[in-house]
Structures are given as C-alpha cells and as structure tokens.
C-alpha cells in the first residue's frame, strides 16, 4: 500500500516537473499563437547557466537567479531577433525557424562550453528526506520541485486572472487592435510574455539540474513529452497544461511501476518484464490517442 502511495507521489512529482516546462510553452502559444520548438533549448540554456553559475559561485541559491535571468534574457533576445518576425506567419515558418534555433543552441554549447555534461548539485538545505507518512521517506528536494510546480500554477493563475498584465495578456490573444488602441504597446507585451515563457523554461531547467543530466540535447529529450502534455491538456490553456501534466506524469509513472507486476499475473517473469517495459514506453502516447479520440482539442480547449 505504501508502495502504491509512493508511486502516486512519484507520478505527481513527475507531472509537476512536466508542468513547469509545459506552462511556458502553452502560455506562449496561447497568447502569441506561435509554436516554439526551441522551448527545450531555453530549458537547456537555463540549466547550463545555473550549472555554470553554481560552479562559479559555489551556491545553488545564487545559481538559481543566474539561470532564470539567463533564460529570460535569451528569451527576450530570441523574441526580438526571431520570434517577432513570425507572429503573422504560418506555423510552418515558425517550426522551421525554431528548429534552426535548436541546432544553433546545441552547436553553440558544444563549441563554447564543451560537450561533456556539467556538474550541478542541489542545495545542502534541501538534501535528505522527510517522512511524508510512516514508512515512506521522500527526498526533500523532490518535494521542493513539487512545491515550485504548485507555486508556478498558482502564480500563473493569479497573473492571468487577477492582474492588469493578465488582462492585457488575455485581451492580447483575442483583440490585438483594441488593446493597442488603449495605448498598450503590444510588441513590448509580447516580448515580455515570451521572456516569461523562457523564464519558466529556465526555471524548469534549474530545478531539474540537480536530479537530471545537464547536457547538450537535454531539451529535445523532454520536448516531445511536453508536446504530449499540452496536446492532452489543450494547447494554450495553462489549466489544461496542469491537468495534462498530472495525467501524463501519473500514467507514465504508474505504468512503469506496476505494468510488469500486473502482467506477471498472466505470464512468466522475464516476458512480463520485457512486455511491461514496452507497454509503459508507449503508454503516454496511447493516453494521448485516447484523449484525442474523445476530445480532439484536448481536455481544456482554448475558447474561440
């Protein structure tokens, strides 16, 4: 029973990590209507900046703002140089341009930082465990990642639903002309929103730095799963991204955790191990397909 609870906790934790990535991507799509394949690259740049920052300063807490700032700055730069020329264009041009950016960022890091993965440790204060319930110790750092995921969800909800900027953001996606007539600089707003998306990607990169590998290509590894998440949730919807992330996180984790032992009820051990692994590796795609059959625009489709 504890095992089941632990695995559910693992699933939630994985889901919230996915949410960190999906939130920025879906926000940028929802507001500017651009698909950004290079979102994973911003995540990578955030993680790299933080890892280098940690080596330089020796502190995770100093590295955190460095990573966020770098991701934000790179995001703003990318928006000013590339993305803003893509708003009116079709998705095809957006896909192509951001594909080019992926190649560039990977090449740039290999060239300037080197090809080897970087060292990045979590903060001393968050090492160790908490007994979340009797007999179930859980790493504090993972709980911290979950907390950050929840905070981001709440923060985004507040930003979009309750602030003036959120109002502009909501209006910006539907009524660009009206908002600009009100004297709001749409171009600046979009730069800011893209920067925010990049910042969220960077935050994801910094947070997973201590539990994953900080290396070239780390962005592409998670990009496709992030796509699955926002497709399931409904592209453009932050609420959908959260729901999709939790659904995918839970089904992936629980599949990997229990598929083999469930299969062992019917077949031999080795076969069950193999088949269970195969099944759990395609499980998230099957979930996605099922959601699409029922709701082609995801769980929380954007209005309009």
């Amino acid at each position: 029973m504890t095992l089941v609870l632990e695995q559910i906790l693992n699933g939630l934790q994985f889901g919230l990590t996915l949410f960190l990535l999906a939130a920025g991507l879906t926000l940028v799509f929802g507001i500017m209507g651009v698909i950004n394949l290079a979102h994973g690259s911003l995540y990578m740049m955030g993680a790299y900046a933080a890892a280098l920052g940690a080596q330089w300063t020796g502190s995770f807490w100093l590295a955190l703002p460095i990573g966020l700032l770098a991701a934000f700055a790179i995001g703003v730069g990318v928006e000013l140089l590339v993305m803003r020329r893509l708003y009116g264009r079709d998705h095809l041009a957006q896909v192509l341009a951001t594909f080019g950016l992926i190649l560039f960022f990977n090449g740039l890091l290999a060239w300037q930082v080197g090809r080897a993965p970087l060292l990045m440790n979590g903060p001393e204060q968050l090492a160790g465990f908490i007994e979340v319930m009797p007999g179930l110790p859980y790493p504090i750092y993972r709980l911290a990642v979950m907390a950050v995921g929840v905070l981001v969800a709440v923060g985004l909800w507040y930003l979009i639903a309750r602030t003036r900027m959120g109002m502009l953001i909501r209006a910006g996606s539907t009524q660009r002309e009206m908002v600009s007539a009100l004297g709001v600089n749409i171009a600046q707003l979009f730069t800011l929103v893209f920067g925010l998306g990049a910042l969220l990607a960077g935050l994801a990169g910094v947070m997973v730095g201590p539990i994953r590998s900080v290396q070239i290509g780390m962005g592409e590894q998670v990009l496709i799963l992030t796509f699955v998440v926002i497709v399931v949730g409904g592209v453009g919807s932050v609420r959908g991204a959260l729901a999709g992330a939790l659904l995918i996180g839970l089904s992936d984790t629980l599949g990997r955790a229990f598929a083999p032992s469930l299969l062992k009820l019917w077949m031999s051990g080795a076969l069950a191990d193999g088949l269970g692994a195969a099944l759990s590796s395609v499980l998230v795609y099957l979930v996605m397909a099922m959601v699409l059959v029922v709701r082609p625009r995801g769980l929380f489709p954007m209005e309009g």
Binding site: L3, A110, A116, R142, R212, M218, R256, G269, D273, S281
Partner: protein
C-alpha cells in the same frame, strides 16, 4: 542544380590535388554532436595526442588524420566512409564510437578493401562468425564491460540482485553479459525507456524488492540522472550498486560529484594505473588539453599506438597483410598495460575494480583497485574462423 554540380565538382577537384601527398590518410569518423559528442571528442583528442607526440607520424609513417562528425546517424557514418574511400583514397579508418554507426559503416569499408580499427564500439555482430582480418577492436567486445561488472558483483559476494537497463538491445545485452559472470539470483530485471529522465518509479521498485545490490547500465545522460536520483532517494546508503565502465567514467563522475562515491565499477583503464606509459599519457593529455583524460581518451590513444604498431611493418604502402602482422604483434606500450589480440582480433586484457573517491582537492575522482578479471577474452571468439 547548377550550384550542386559546381559544389561537387569543386569538392572532387580539391580531393585530386590533395591525394598527391605521400602521407597515410586515416579517416576518423566519430560522434561530435548530440549528447554523445563528448565520447568522440575525447577519443579524437587522445588519438591526435599520440600522432602529435610522434610529430605527425605513427610508427614512423607520416599520417594525415581526417575527422568528421557522424551525428550518431548510421547512414552518415557510412556516407563519410564512402566519400573518403572514393575521393580521398583513405584506406585506414577508425574513430567510430557507437555500435549502430559501426554496424552500418564497417561493411562498406571492408568491402572496399579498407581496414577498420575500432577505438570503442565492439558489437557482437562482428566479433563471432562475421569477424574479418581487416577489422580490429582495440577497446573491448561490448559484453566484456558487463561481464567484468558481473564478476565484480560475484567477487563482492552479492547473492540476490536487481538489474536495470534501458529497453533496447544494448541494454538487454548488458543484462545478459552481466548474468554470464554473476551466477547469483536475479530477483527482478527492470527495463527503463530510452527517453526516460526520471527514475523515481524504478527506485521505489528496487526499494520494495530489497536486493543485496543492484546492477544498472545507463550510459551518458541517463546514467548521470540515475546516479543523482539514486543518491537523492537515499538508496545509495542502503543498497550497494555495481556498474560497468560506461556508467562510471570520468565525465559522469565529474557531473554527479558526491553521488558517485561508494559505487563499485569496473574498467580496463584508469588514470592512476601505475604503468609508465599511462603516467606519461595522463601528464601529456592534461598539458595539451587542460583537462583530465577519460577512458575514451585512453582508448583513442591506445588505438593510435596499435595503428602505429601496424604501420611500422606496413610502411606508407599500407598493405593490409603487412599491417595485420604488425597489429597482431602489438609492438606498443599501451596505457592500459597488459593487452593482446585474440583470434577474432578483439582484446584479451585485464579488468580492474574502480571506485569514486574524494580527491585531495575535494573533487571526486576514480580510483582503481584490484584486478577483477585477468586476461579476459570474449565469448564470441570461438565462432571466429581466423
């Protein structure tokens, strides 16, 4: 179209002018991009160090090393080989890191009468019945890595183990290789997916299975993530871990830090092996590149030394049989020490216990221990008719 023909014509003209020189050209096809790029980078740098030390020669023969990135795409490796065979008249190839590139590329080279010396990948496809007199593996047969880990687990007295590997052939081979020498009970085999970055679910399964120890094979980034999460989950202090060299090499240790301490690994080389050649190599590598060499760098270096041994007898003509007699003589001081070629032209060598310890400067480094396997060969050699 016009641009295309011009570009191609230009490239081939360039090739014509360059073939005029009297050097032996060595085609170094390796992986420089993708997450696996650092393996190729180190193998290349190790190789070039050896060439450099001899002043642009290997075994007294002037060489020119052509390097190109295969991007970890099998077809690209093959394409580069075809290009060099054709327009650069390259006959001697090396550099390939990954088995899939090797499997696609090697037949093309051998069929064209070329020679291939592998500094890393040793896939079983070419080590048994399909062995070839112009194909040499200077690193290890793939299974050796895991056999040595299995032998170590047996030596350490573990009886009941959980094995983890990604769900693809190399992962399954790792588990088979490990079991070949381990001999104890395998309670559970856990297969992860190749794109997985979070192993919390698997670690909970390990915790529940309560094994004596675990063996895991996750190369590169996955291995790094696994070790970090393993330490964080607290399992590191409860369940011992045994791994093979690709999961515990210098770059991985450098990027996981303290999380690597206490893990038992095996390797055929380490920076602290006490032979003279190795001491000189490490010193020269650090001096030239300003970083510690990895096992891949050592393999690149050793491959160059073995090629030098072949070139000593073949000379600039590069006759395949003459080259072969030189290669098989192993007229070279390798940094790993004890080495000879088996009948399938794969290594017979020693494997050492390796562990990560805190160095004097606070950095985590790898330290070699006792021999785990001595004069270890591979299981496929008996099928090779050479």
């Amino acid at each position: 179209m016009r641009f295309k023909s011009l570009a191609l014509a230009g490239a081939s003209l360039l090739a014509l002018t360059m073939t005029a020189s009297a050097q032996v050209k060595i085609g170094f096809i390796t992986t420089l991009s993708t997450p696996g790029g650092y393996l190729g980078e180190d193998a290349r740098d190790g190789f070039l160090l050896a060439v450099n030390e001899e002043g642009g020669k290997l075994g007294g023969v002037p060489v020119q090393v052509l390097v190109e990135d295969d991007q970890l795409k099998p077809a690209n490796g093959k394409q580069i080989a075809e290009k060099w065979l054709e327009s650069e008249k390259v006959k001697l190839f090396t550099g390939v890191i990954f088995s899939n590139v090797s499997i696609a590329t090697v037949p093309t080279i051998l069929e064209a009468g070329g020679i291939f010396v592998s500094p890393n990948a040793g896939p079983s496809a070419f080590s048994g019945k399909a062995c070839n007199k112009n194909y040499y593996v200077t690193s290890w047969q793939n299974d050796n890595l895991h056999e040595s880990a299995g032998a170590l687990a047996k030596k350490l007295g573990y009886k009941r183990m959980v094995l983890l590997a990604p769900n693809y052939p190399a992962g399954k081979d790792a588990i088979i290789g490990f079991k070949r020498t381990f001999g104890g009970e395998v309670i559970e085999e856990i297969y992860t997916s190749l794109d997985q970055t979070d192993f919390a679910a698997e670690m909970a399964r390990v915790r529940a299975a309560k094994p004596d120890a675990v063996f895991q094979f996750h190369p590169g980034g996955q291995g790094i993530a696994f070790l970090k999460q393993w330490a964080q989950s607290g399992l590191k202090d409860q369940v011992p871990m045994v791994v093979a060299s690709p999961s515990l090499e210098q770059k991985i240790v450098a990027s996981v830090g303290d999380a690597a301490i206490g893990i038992a690994g095996t390797s055929h080389w380490n920076g602290d092996l006490p032979n003279e050649a190795n001491k000189a190599f490490v010193k020269a590598f650090v001096a030239k590149y300003n970083r510690e060499p990895t096992v891949y760098a050592s393999q690149g270096y050793d491959a160059a030394k073995l090629i030098a041994s072949g070139l000593k007898t073949s000379g600039e003509k590069l006759d395949a049989d003459a080259f072969r007699s030189g290669m098989l003589k192993v007229d070279a001081k390798l940094v790993r020490g004890n080495f000879k070629f088996n009948n399938n032209q794969h290594p017979i060598q020693d494997w050492y216990e390796i562990k990560a310890v805190k160095g004097t400067d606070g950095k985590v480094v790898l330290q070699s221990g006792a021999k785990v396997l001595e004069n270890h060969a591979d299981a496929y050699a008996k099928d090779c008719a050479l």
